[in-house]
């Protein structure tokens, strides 16, 4: 019977326990107040029913009572606030050294790209016992990445990166839902998260790929002419990108930002918004010329430059080239939604 009628979701991440604990506290408090109020209604309704208590005794109110039932609920709710905020803070801050998976959502499928180069659709393989961080974007409408067993959810937005993370604690297959309404196939935009033992994952990850994501990114880096300006040894027009990832960057207006995935993405598409101090705003925009998967690869490449996992960009020894790289025609896959 109970196997057919589960009343509680599986608990398969480090976060799940924390969320459940707060949830049980809230359930207990809710039950307490609901029962208290129902009981008071019942008791008053019986004790002071007209037949037994024909004349009401008028009471105007009591400031002490009003204060009590203002302050006590306020106090209790502050517990919920602080505890909930603490969990949220953990949820939104992925630990350092997380394994990273890029997610590109589109109507109505999930595409996952591992840094090692594996690509999956509607199925995500992750190892047990590791922090996994997802860097997500959408090609069309808003989607939302939701794995109930991990108590994790984050909207996936077009034109931006959002991210979330989890640390799976139990091997198995878990539901992945799109929880933000996204059109006709919303309810079929479901998938599976497969949590594997580290050894099994290692086997899975090393089986046949055509190069890592960063190496794909490197190809784009050359192809789009990024290396014309951003190479390790041009004194140049653009900042050197080796080792820049994750570091603070001083901007020309004095602000300081961390060079994270979103910053890199924004700098490719809207270079003028946050110009690095000491450089001129001469970089052209690449908006509409690189699709989301290409951007993901570029980001992965620049990230890999930081930890020495990729070849540094070579300077282009062709002074004849136009002062600004002319981006190649957008790839065919960008416009056609059928490309997977």
């Amino acid at each position: 019977m109970w196997s057919n009628l589960p009343l509680f979701p599986a608990r398969a991440s480090t976060l799940a326990g924390h969320v459940d604990a707060l949830y049980f506290l809230l359930v207990a408090v809710t039950a307490f107040f609901t029962i208290l109020i129902a009981a008071l209604i019942l008791i008053f309704a019986i004790r002071f029913r007209k037949t037994k208590h024909p004349v009401a005794r008028q009471i105007h109110g009591s400031n002490a009572l009003e204060l009590t039932w203002t302050i006590i609920p306020l106090g209790i709710s502050m517990i919920f606030f602080v505890w909930g905020a603490a969990i949220y803070f953990t949820e939104t801050r992925p630990p350092k050294d997380s394994m990273e998976v890029y997610v590109v959502a589109k109507q109505w499928m999930w595409k996952f790209e591992h840094t090692e180069g594996q690509r999956e659709i509607d199925e995500l393989h992750v190892p047990e016992g590791r922090d996994v961080r997802l860097i997500m974007t959408s090609q069309d409408v808003i989607h939302s990445f939701f794995v109930p067993a991990f108590r994790v959810k984050a909207d996936v937005l077009p034109g931006r990166y959002t991210s979330t993370w989890f640390h799976a604690t139990k091997t198995g297959r878990y539901h992945l839902f799109c929880s933000q309404y996204c059109g006709t196939g919303h309810s079929s935009m479901v998938g599976t998260v497969v949590v594997m033992s580290p050894a099994a994952y290692q086997r899975w990850a090393s089986s046949g790929t055509d190069g890592s994501l960063a190496s794909t990114g490197e190809k784009y880096f050359q192809q789009y002419g990024c290396s014309t300006c951003h190479s390790s040894n041009t004194q140049g027009r653009g900042p050197n990108l080796v080792g820049i990832f994750g570091k603070p960057v001083l901007l020309d207006d004095g602000r300081r930002v961390i060079a994270d995935e979103s910053y890199i993405r924004e700098s490719i598409l809207n270079p003028e918004v946050k110009v690095v101090s000491g450089f001129k705003p001469i970089m052209p925009t690449f908006q509409g010329q690189i699709n989301e998967e290409g951007l993901v690869a570029l980001v992965a490449y620049i990230k890999a430059l930081g930890n020495g996992m990729a070849n540094p960009p070579m300077p282009v020894n062709n002074p004849e080239k136009a002062p600004y790289p002319v981006p190649p025609k957008p790839e065919a896959s960008q416009a056609t939604p059928s490309a997977k």
């Binding site: 930002v257 961390i258 994270d260 979103s262």
Partner: protein
């Protein structure tokens, strides 16, 4: 109520001239290179002009207290809409 302390035709013309002069100033100021102060100057002058229109042409000065409160409430909630939305957009990049 509307009879006492009512603005005269002369004062209407005075306000009108002031508004025209302010318009000329704000256009001229936009040709100066003031950095972020261009926007400050433009909005300051716009607020002066709007206040003149509201206080004198719309006679907000002579309104009963309750109607004045209505105006203040509107500005307050407009401010809420703008500032609370800004709390999101301004702090998105913080500490990431």
């Amino acid at each position: 109520m509307s009879e006492h302390a009512h603005p005269t035709v002369k004062s209407f013309f005075g306000i009108w001239i002031t508004l025209l002069i302010l318009t000329a100033i704000t256009t001229a100021a936009s040709f100066l290179e003031l950095g972020p102060f261009n926007a400050v100057v433009a909005l300051f002058i716009a607020t002066c002009k709007a206040s003149l229109v509201v206080l004198f042409f719309m006679e907000a000065r002579y309104l009963p207290k309750i109607t004045k409160m209505v105006i203040v409430t509107a500005l307050f909630f407009l401010g809420l809409l703008l500032t609370l939305t800004m709390t999101d957009f301004m702090t998105r990049l913080m500490g990431r």
